[in-house]
């Protein structure tokens, strides 16, 4: 079993050399490793482990992927490199394929919900407010009337930041200013959306670390009050994860889900060198689909998540 066999077979490479970004993709490396071989061997698995772990996939999920790959190979008998690549792609994509929730997957079809209410949550600085600005842009482009709620009343200039995004998008921002009750902002924003026939209402919340019980309780409350205006809201609870975050994303997903029943993920800052591989395990373990990715700071730098592209990106450097 090649499970973490790299641990025993250490080739002493110079660290700097090792950290050098290579231009070859994993599959090229794999192809080389496989020439003339007829089974998935330890060298291949070592390489695969390294790629996955350095993409923040995490040990447990990496082992799971390797295990699934080995089973598939044993069963289906692969005949060549390209086939193995496909198996690997498929197996990883399967872990991401848990989109069982009823949330809509494009910006124009809101499945009859009006207003469609999105609450955006996450730890500090991951890109919540920016993602809201980008989402507003997408919904507007799809012809929707959008309202934003400035529910971060805590972080310095947070309301102003969202208001600037509101101006950029020419959409209304419901706000009560700084240091006010975020739940009442959320309440008023949903109410404003209902009263004014908006199609989409997106609520910003203050960044908070998931181990702060009081702040998580506050979040649950913000969520609860919305349903008092309109039953079934918020429809989408979007947890924003930063692609550069490591294994802590698991704990984030766990705690935010416990507090607010997260049903969608956004993965930001994928325009950087970080791969965001931790979402594979998060999506798999919590059965929450990745819905959006952030690829820059600009208003257009948001895309719907495409799992095949994402998986391929893990193997490119």
């Amino acid at each position: 079993m090649g499970i973490f066999s790299f641990f025993s077979k250490e080739k002493k490479e110079k660290l700097d050399q090792g950290l050098e970004k290579t231009k070859t993709s994993l599959f090229e490396k794999i192809s080389k490793a496989l020439v003339g071989k007829s089974s998935v061997d330890d060298d291949f698995l070592d390489k695969l482990e390294e790629i996955l772990v350095t993409s923040d996939v995490g040990i447990e999920t990496t082992l799971k992927i390797i295990d699934r790959l080995q089973k598939r190979v044993a069963k289906d008998k692969y005949t060549g490199t390209s086939e193995l690549q496909n198996l690997l792609r498929q197996e990883i994509a399967l872990l991401l394929d848990e989109n069982k929730s009823e949330i809509p997957v494009d910006f124009s079809d809101l499945q009859g919900k009006k207003p469609y209410v999105i609450m955006v949550v996450g730890v500090n600085g991951v890109g919540k407010t920016t993602t809201i600005g980008k989402l507003a842009n997408q919904f507007k482009k799809a012809g929707k009337k959008v309202v934003l709620g400035a529910g971060d009343t805590f972080r310095a200039a947070a309301v102003q930041q969202l208001k600037i995004w509101g101006e950029r998008n020419e959409v209304h921002v419901v706000e009560h200013g700084m240091n006010t009750d975020p739940a009442s902002v959320a309440f008023d924003a949903v109410k404003y959306a209902v009263d004014n026939g908006a199609d989409v209402c997106i609520i910003d919340t203050a960044g908070r670390l998931h181990n702060k019980i009081n702040l998580m309780t506050e979040l649950s409350k913000i969520k609860r009050v919305m349903s008092k205006v309109l039953d079934g809201t918020p429809h989408e609870i979007l947890l924003v994860l930063d692609a550069s975050t490591g294994q802590n994303a698991f704990e984030q997903a766990k705690q935010f889900t416990a507090a607010t029943e997260v049903n969608a993920l956004a993965l930001t800052k994928l325009d950087g060198t970080a791969k965001g591989g931790v979402v594979i395990g998060v999506a798999d373990q919590f059965k929450i689909p990745v819905k959006y990715i952030g690829v820059g700071e600009g208003i257009d730098d948001l895309q719907l998540f495409n799992k095949h592209e994402f998986v391929d990106s893990l193997f490119k450097s």
């Binding site: 805590f154 490591g246 800052k269």
Partner: protein, 442 residues
């Protein structure tokens, strides 16, 4: 994964029993587990490998203390290595120059603006006049954010509404600070990706223009494997002087800290512990090491075991053991030493076989109370020569301490077994090797 690392280490080391030293063979499994733990804590894959290789070399040949299990000793060795890697002393920020110019740099959302203000607050509290400069012209409301924080801590903020050139704002800010006799000026900059050439050139230009005395790389403690790439790229451009590790008030293990320290060899000067202006702390290498390893308890335990056990007392018991003269009096004295060490469940976990059995048990700290009571109820002679404790003596002992006779019987039986076990262990080990501590805790 962490919950059972300790038990995995125990298993990995079970072959070690009866061997006095950590050897190449018995260390391999353990090193594997530790490496996984480090990776799970977000230490970079290659660095985890590098670090554990060093640890392995250091551990081989280390004497195994009898007071703690080898697995736990290994954890301590790893911990010490991590502390050493972080560097023993805390590093102050520069006070050179007039004003001292401090430049903040880092990825988007890492906490630069917040820490610009926290640091200003920190310096202000030391009685120095300090100023901040808002050089993020990109992020919506970035200038406003720094202004709000400046008002909160009562520190002036230099900004230029409408100037879109951060290099010139920074230069003007330094000039302004000089003119106003500020002792320190801290420059906040926009977040940037290491691969964004234009933005990296921009911050390089800021550096060239204002020649900062201190350049702080601000990094989120939750960062994963990519920390090495980012730290290296920022260091290549800026040759920064220190690191601020933010959001450590979360529950991340913070392995990125080790990756960064290893790859750029720059000191971590501060840690951010919250959103409030006071939530800035100096860096403690030992705390960080324990956090990354996730086994602070074990480390303290080993330290305590190493401290507390009275060498003379142990030697005395040791001799008696060799002569097969271990008595209830000795047992009592051992219990008392154990109690000095604190949390009983942890301590009992160190006894082989016991750890697993009590894993889910709620062990109260007076678990030894009954045993002590029974022993106290024995006469000195009974304690010294347990063999004389017959049926009627048992009854007397039981009624004397108010415990069931079954309990007394059980203790006597266990004591007998323990003595037998020690005897075999002694034979196995050979009389030549000194056992420094409590054999039954092995």
């Amino acid at each position: 994964m962490f919950d059972n690392l300790s038990s995995k280490l125990e298993k990995a080391f079970k072959t070690l029993k009866g061997q006095g030293k950590i050897t190449e063979i018995n260390v391999a499994e353990t090193v594997k587990e530790i490496r996984k733990a480090l990776i799970d804590a977000d230490v970079n894959y290659k660095i985890a490998k590098q670090v554990t290789d060093t640890i392995k070399d250091n551990a081989i040949g280390a004497n195994v203390l009898t007071t703690v299990s080898p697995g736990k000793l290994m954890v301590k060795i790893v911990n010490d290595e991590l502390v050493a890697l972080f560097g023993g002393k805390t590093e102050e920020i520069s006070t050179e120059g007039n004003p001292t110019i401090i430049l903040m740099a880092g990825l988007q959302g890492s906490g630069k603006t917040t820490h610009t203000a926290k640091l200003a607050n920190f310096i202000k509290r030391k009685g120095k006049s300090v100023m901040m400069a808002a050089c993020d012209v990109y992020r919506p409301a970035a200038i406003e954010q720094l202004k709000v924080l400046g008002a909160q801590i009562d520190v002036p903020v230099y900004f230029e509404e409408g100037n879109l050139n951060p290099v010139s704002i920074a230069a003007n800010a330094v000039k302004h600070a000089k003119e106003n006799n500020a002792r320190v000026i801290i420059i906040d900059t926009a977040g940037r990706l290491a691969i964004d050439e234009q933005m990296m050139n921009e911050i390089g230009d800021i550096k060239k223009t204002i020649k900062p005395h201190e350049i702080l790389f601000v990094v989120d403690a939750m960062t994963g494997q990519d920390a090495v790439n980012t730290a290296k790229a920022f260091n290549d451009v800026l040759d920064f002087t220190g690191v601020i590790l933010t959001k450590l008030d979360g529950d991340t293990r913070g392995g990125a800290a080790l990756s960064i320290k290893t790859v750029v060899e720059k000191p971590i000067k501060f840690v951010g512990m919250g959103e409030k202006m006071e939530a800035l702390d100096v860096f403690h290498p030992d705390r960080m090491a324990q956090r990354i390893l996730g086994m602070g308890d074990i480390v303290t335990l080993v330290e305590r075991a190493q401290d507390v056990f009275d060498k003379e007392e142990s030697d005395r018991i040791q001799k008696k053991l060799l002569k097969d003269q271990f008595t209830f009096q000795d047992f009592l004295s051992q219990i008392q030493q154990i109690k000095k060490m604190g949390n009983l469940k942890d301590l009992m976990g160190m006894i082989p076989g016991v750890g697993k059995a009590i894993k889910d048990l709620d062990v109260s700290d007076d678990a030894f109370k009954h045993i002590e009571a029974i022993i106290y109820s024995m006469t000195p002679k009974e304690r010294e020569t347990p063999d004389i404790i017959n049926g009627s003596r048992r009854k007397r002992i039981a009624s004397g301490c108010g415990r069931d006779i079954q309990e007394v019987n059980q203790l006597l039986k266990q004591f007998d077994e323990m003595r037998k076990m020690m005897k075999t262990m002694n034979k196995f080990q050979g009389a030549g090797r000194s056992m420094k501590g409590l054999p039954f805790m092995r």
